[in-house]
């Protein structure tokens, strides 16, 4: 009896997961359809799939270029953010400086402002410095955006790593930097991974800033989708479906393989073991 209940319980969970996944699945199915099948009067679940559209999307040189841009932007900006955040988190955690709490809250307030609001002065600023359509400029912006969250997570985890490690290592003659990166850093791995994934997703999916302040050198795929939506006057649904499907695969894969770390990471350091 208990087994039956357990089965029912599991089935319910699976059902819920599938319900949430259903629209995404529909997008995936659509990428395998031709335009006529996509726009058919009765939505088709069973049809003869074709990979033509997926291949077409991949073969578009603009798409590949945008994909590369997305990759470069995401990896570079989040890596920079994590390094900077780690340094700062270490400082906050170990040195308990005056005003550190204030600074941390202030940083969080940074995320508060509506994107379109920050874009206006940033656009003007970037324009004044000649940074429009500049890959480095955009990377730095995304890095800035990723710092607060990373800082919070890393500090949480760092607080959970006993300072004895630091002290012992320092006494043995290691430099502070060595202590930070060789000894402490590995211990906060879940935090690093969680911060990385979380911010990666944000940059990966970002549209507005890249569209307004970026240009041909920095186009990422969301911009590509928004502009590539229309082809020959009609809406290019097959392209949107294909592009979206291809684009979400890397993230889905990341979430699948690093799920454990993500869950631990989001505990902000209160849990070091299983979730």
């Amino acid at each position: 009896m208990a087994k039956l209940r357990r089965q029912a319980y599991y089935m319910l969970l699976w059902l819920i997961a599938l319900v949430f996944f259903a629209p995404v699945f529909w997008i995936f199915l659509s990428s395998l359809k031709t335009t006529d099948q996509l726009l058919a009067k009765t939505p088709q679940i069973f049809f003869s799939p074709t990979t033509a559209n997926l291949l077409d999307a991949v073969n578009r040189p603009s798409f590949t270029q945008q994909f590369v841009h997305s990759l470069v932007l995401s990896v570079a900006s989040v890596t920079i953010a994590i390094v900077v955040a780690f340094l700062a988190a270490y400082s906050f955690s170990r040195f308990r400086l005056a005003g550190s709490d204030f600074l941390m809250f202030l940083l969080l307030s940074v995320r508060m402002v509506p994107a379109a609001a920050t874009i206006v002065p940033l656009y003007l600023m970037y324009a004044a410095f000649g940074w429009k359509d500049n890959l480095i400029g955009i990377i730095l912006f995304y890095a800035m955006f990723s710092i607060p969250f990373s800082l919070w997570i890393l500090k949480g985890f760092l607080d959970g790593v006993s300072q004895r490690f630091d002290e012992t290592a320092l006494m043995s003659g290691a430099s502070r930097l060595q202590v930070m990166f060789k000894i402490i850093l590995p211990q906060v791995r879940p935090g690093l991974i969680a911060a990385f994934i979380f911010n990666f997703i944000f940059v990966w999916n970002e549209y507005l800033f890249n569209y307004i302040v970026g240009g041909a050198n920095t186009n990422n795929v969301p911009v590509g989708i928004a502009t590539g939506m229309y082809s020959s006057g009609g809406v290019d649904w097959t392209f949107i479906a294909s592009a979206t499907t291809i684009y979400m695969l890397p993230i889905i894969v990341m979430i699948y393989f690093f799920q454990k770390y993500l869950l631990i990471g989001m505990t902000f350091g209160t849990v070091r073991g299983e979730v």
Binding site: F102, K132, D133, T227, Y230, G233
Partner: protein, 488 residues
């Protein structure tokens, strides 16, 4: 902790006022630096290799064509006749986002886009801050650019700013008018003809001339006849979408054809001109036509209409001539007739579409020369003819009146017809057009979807808002009067 925070933050805020002044000042200093005055000195580009970028409309057939032409035919021409290498890159954005892309780039005085395919209404917004080059001197210096245009519609709509002045800021890239696409196969089907005759005791129109005489009153019966929800077929499709200028372009013919005004173009006043009872009645008339459209008409814009027509959901639709290549795919070849849209009792005047080329004022000498060379080549009769054959819409008299032109594309006859003076009119080129447009689109959409019940109220809202915009910008001396009606 929290109160502490707030006071610190507020202190920062007020301190910011003083600190920000230098930034604003420095930005202001940036303004007014070098721009091209349109002065013409021919630069020799022999032996050089240039890369030009054209900013165009995403997914818009004529826009993409121009880049293709550039990369194939012009490239060859430049190499052989002018002695230099040139390659064209294209950047694009959908209509609703194109202005933002162009403006944000031009505002930084960048050469990111050397040649821009602009919508006709943006001439003012680009010309006023001197982001695009005045073309008068360039045209004077280049014989190829001294083209005789088909009608004043072309020069008023695509070239001049301010309206009525002799300043030229654009050259037509693609001419565009509203035309009616009709399923000829349905008209010619004996079954349909018999059914229609028995029901209405009239014949279905068959030819261009039949449609030329057609009025909206006549067309009602036809739309009604073909509106068969159970079969998934509807009589017509019209654009009621809030996006960009969709709704406005489709509502305006109901005013223009009757000689009603949308604003006082001399004094730049809107109140009292737009929000009249007759305009309100026309608005209601337009919205009432939704009953012959497929469901979801409030979301229908250009691409949605293309999908509806090509998937056989509607018998007819009023759509832009420039969309011709997409409206008649291979599946519909030979099944479509393109005719002028229905006339009103008082006349037939529809809205102008189409895009002019505008030239980035910040182009350096070499790029500018290449752009001028390209444009000069673009207007050669051979090029325009090739463009027409590829599905583009030329605007010059020579090409349009050449023999056999009408037969090159199914929509050319209707396009040419509507391009005549008096048949098509553009709306404001004012620099504040973007705000004026989004305000009115919001109100129109509110009325169309029932958020606002009274057509006159919607117009009052628009008139107030636009008067405010123009007054704030110093275009008119009259401040808005009365109070702003609510849209909710």
């Amino acid at each position: 902790m929290t109160v502490h925070d707030i006071s610190r933050r507020t202190a920062l805020k007020w301190g910011a006022v003083g600190l920000s002044v230098p930034f604003v000042g420095s930005l202001a200093a940036c303004a007014g630096s070098k721009t091209s005055t349109g002065a013409v000195e021919k630069v020799s580009l022999k032996g050089q290799s240039l890369a030009l970028t054209i900013l165009g409309v995403a997914g818009w057939p004529p826009s993409q064509m121009s880049v293709d032409f550039g990369n194939k035919a012009f490239k060859a021409h430049a190499k052989s006749a002018l002695g230099y290498d040139v390659g064209f890159k294209s950047s694009d954005a959908p209509f609703g986002q194109l202005f933002q892309k162009a403006a944000t780039s031009l505002a930084t005085k960048s050469q990111e886009f050397n040649l821009i395919i602009s919508d006709s209404q943006w001439l003012g917004a680009f010309a006023r801050p001197k982001w695009i080059t005045p073309l008068n001197k360039i045209i004077e210096a280049n014989k190829n650019l001294q083209v005789e245009w088909y009608s004043n519609v072309v020069s008023n709509g695509y070239m001049r700013y301010p309206d009525g002045s002799s300043n030229i800021y654009g050259l037509p890239q693609e001419g565009d008018t509203q035309v009616l696409y009709v399923r000829k196969d349905m008209l010619e089907s004996p079954k349909e003809q018999a059914a229609f005759k028995s029901k209405y005791h009239k014949d279905l129109p068959q030819t261009f001339e039949d449609f030329d005489k057609m009025t909206w009153a006549d067309y009602q019966t036809i739309m009604e006849f073909f509106t068969r929800p159970t079969e998934g077929l509807y009589g017509i499709s019209l654009q009621y979408s809030k996006e960009y200028d969709d709704f406005s372009c489709y509502y305006y013919p109901f005013l223009f054809s009757r000689g009603y005004q949308i604003w006082d173009s001399q004094k730049k006043n809107v109140q009292g001109v737009l929000n009249t009872d007759q305009n309100a009645a026309a608005l209601e008339e337009f919205v009432a036509l939704k009953k012959y459209c497929p469901p979801g008409a409030d979301q229908v814009g250009i691409p949605e209409m293309a999908d509806l027509f090509t998937q056989g959901k509607v018998f007819s639709c009023i759509q832009w001539a420039a969309m011709g290549p997409s409206m008649i795919p291979s599946t519909l070849k030979g099944k479509v007739i393109v005719v002028p849209p229905p006339a009103f009792k008082e006349g037939r005047t529809y809205t102008l579409g189409g895009q002019p080329w505008v030239v980035n004022a910040f182009n350096d000498k070499n790029n500018m020369q290449a752009v001028v060379d390209f444009l000069s080549w673009w207007y050669l009769p051979e090029t325009q003819l090739a463009y027409a054959k590829a599905g583009g819409n030329p605007c010059d008299k020579v090409t349009l009146e050449s023999t056999g032109f009408d037969d090159l594309q199914p929509w050319f006859r209707a396009y040419k017809y509507m391009l005549q003076d008096g048949k098509t009119v553009d709306f404001w080129h004012d620099p504040n057009y973007a705000k004026m447009l989004s305000d009115q689109q919001e109100a129109f959409s509110a009325f169309s979807t029932g958020q606002v019940k009274d057509a006159r109220k919607a117009l009052d809202y628009i008139a107030y808002k636009q008067q405010q915009t123009l007054y704030d910008a110093g275009q008119t001396k009259t401040a808005p009067s009365g109070t702003l009606p609510s849209l909710s």
